[in-house]
Symmetry: C2
Subunit: 280 residues, 2 copies
C-alpha cells in the first residue's frame, strides 16, 4: 500500500521506518515544508519519494498526519477536500478535541480517523526516528463511530502492524486524561529545567551534581517547543486545572517542609508511592 | 581491610557488593536494626557477618554510615566515641550541614569524613542493591580540612575503588546545590504521582495512557518515605526557596496557558531546552 506521511519528524520518521520494515507500506511518500527534513528523510531511508501535498494525496491510499497539532487542525480540512472515497486520513496528534471539531461537518469526515499513538522521546526531527518507537505501546482512537468501516479498519491494521494496543474513547475524554498523564509531565520537566538553570548559573555544578534522578525528571525539558506549545494551547482548559491541582500539592509539601512536619511529609510520599502499582 | 556497613538498604547493600567484588574489603560486617535486612543481606552475600554496633566498630578499620540522615546525625557522635585513633567513619547521607554540625566539636572529629555519593534508584532495601550502582558517578566530600590525612585518604581510595569521580565543597554549599539538582526532582515527582492518583481514580486509565514520559517524570515518586522525609527535614531552608522558585515557574506556565500566549510558552520551553547541553 502506498502511504503518505505528512511531517517527517520523530513520529512521522519512525512511522516511515516502521511501516517499511514490517511490510505494511509498499511505498512511503513524504511531505514536509522543511526542505532539510525531506532531504534528511530521503537520506535516512524514511521515505521513497518526496512530493507536494496534492500529488501525495492523489497517489496514496493512506495519509498519516504527524505535524504540530495547530497546523494539523488547520490543514486537515483541505486534505479531506482532496480525499477520494477510498482515501483514509489518520492524524497522530497529542490533542484530539480541536481537530475533531474542525472537521465535524466536513463532507469527507468519514475518511478521517482521529488517533494518538502514545509514543515519543525528547528528541525531534528525522534523525531522531527509529522503527521500534511504537512497539507494544498504546494507540488511542477517538470518535470511531464517525469513521466509515474501511477507514477505521485500516487505521486499526496500521497500528496493529506495529504491535500496538488499541483503546477507544471520546475526544474530550482523551484530552482530559492525557493532560494528567502526559502534558503535565512535560510542564513539570520544563519548569524543573528552567528553575535549575536560573539558579545554577554555573552549569558545571549541575553537570557534576545531578544524578540519574535529575536526568529522569528533567529529560522532557529537552522536548521541542514547536511541537509542545501548540499542544498546551489546544488543551489549555484541561491543563489549567491540572496545573492548579499540581501546584496545590507542591504547596502542601512546602507547607509541611516549612513547619517541619515530617509525619505529614511522610504521609504525602506514602500516598505517592501507590504509583508503583501502576508503573511497575 | 575489614569494613563495617551500618544500614543495609540500597546504598549500604550496594557498597557491600561492590567493595567485596573489587577487593577493597576483605570482610564486610553488617549492622542494621531491622532483622529482616540483616537476614536478607547475609543471604544475598552483601555481608560476611552481622554484629551489633559496638562489636562492629571494634572489629573494623572503616565504618560506612548508610542510614536515613536524621538517624545518622543522631548516632554519629556515639560512633565517634567508640572510634580508635585509626578508625575512619564515612557517612553517605544526602544532606551534609546537619551532620557536620553535630560532630563539629567532637574529640574524634578528624576520624570522620562527610561525603555524599550521588547515586541511587527509586528502590530500597537490601534486595534493591547492585554492585555497579556507584560506577562512574560523582562522590562529594565536604569539610575535608577537618579530617586527618589518613581518614581523607582512605575515603578517597574507597570511592576511587568504585570508579567514582571526587568533588570537594563546603557542607552548606553542598546542601544548597543538592536541593536544586536532587531534592527538588524528588518533590516534583512525588507531587506528580499524587496529583495523577488523586484525579485518575480509575488506575487502569493511568496505566493505559501513561507513556514513557510519565514513567520517567514520576519514577522518583516510588522512593522511600523513610529515607526522604528526613532529607527534606534536614534541608528544609534550602528546599523552601527552591520550591518557591519552582512554583513561580509553574505559575508562569499557567498564566501564559490561561491567556493563550503561545509565544511566551514557546520562550519558556526554549529556555528550558538549554538543559540539553548538560544532560546530553
Amino acid at each position: 500500500m502506498v502511504v503518505t506521511i505528512i511531517g517527517l519528524g520523530l513520529i512521522g520518521g519512525s512511522l516511515g521506518l516502521s511501516l517499511k520494515q514490517n511490510g505494511f507500506a509498499s511505498k512511503i511518500i513524504g511531505v514536509d515544508n522543511n526542505p532539510n527534513h525531506t532531504k534528511e528523510a530521503a537520506e535516512l531511508g524514511i521515505v521513497d519519494e518526496v512530493m507536494n501535498l496534492e500529488e501525495a494525496i492523489e497517489a496514496s491510499r493512506l495519509v498519516l498526519l504527524a505535524i504540530p497539532v495547530n497546523t494539523a487542525k488547520k490543514i486537515l480540512p483541505s486534505i479531506l477536500d482532496l480525499a477520494k472515497p477510498e482515501t483514509v486520513v489518520v492524524d497522530m496528534g497529542s490533542t484530539k478535541l480541536g481537530i475533531c471539531e474542525a472537521v465535524a461537518n466536513h463532507k469527507n469526515r468519514q475518511c478521517f480517523v482521529a488517533s494518538h499513538p502514545i509514543a515519543g522521546t525528547e528528541n525531534s526531527g528525522p534523525s531522531a526516528a527509529f522503527p521500534t518507537l511504537f512497539m507494544q505501546k498504546v494507540a488511542i482512537i477517538c470518535e470511531k463511530e464517525l469513521c466509515n468501516r474501511e477507514a477505521l479498519n485500516l487505521a486499526e491494521r496500521l497500528y496493529k502492524s506495529m504491535y500496538m494496543k488499541l483503546i477507544y474513547m471520546d475526544a474530550d475524554e482523551h484530552d482530559r486524561h492525557i493532560a494528567y498523564v502526559s502534558h503535565l509531565s512535560h510542564i513539570t520537566s520544563f519548569a524543573l529545567g528552567l528553575t535549575v538553570l536560573e539558579v545554577e548559573k554555573d552549569e558545571k555544578t549541575i553537570f557534576n551534581m545531578a544524578g540519574s534522578g535529575f536526568a529522569s525528571t528533567a529529560r522532557l525539558a529537552k522536548s521541542s517547543p514547536q511541537m509542545w506549545a501548540p499542544i498546551f494551547e489546544q488543551n489549555s482548559k484541561n491543563l489549567s486545572s491540572v496545573l492548579e491541582a499540581y501546584i496545590d500539592n507542591l504547596k502542601l509539601f512546602k507547607k509541611h517542609i516549612d513547619s517541619g512536619d515530617s509525619d505529614e511529609i511522610h504521609k504525602l510520599m506514602a500516598g505517592a508511592n501507590r504509583i508503583r502499582k501502576i508503573l511497575d
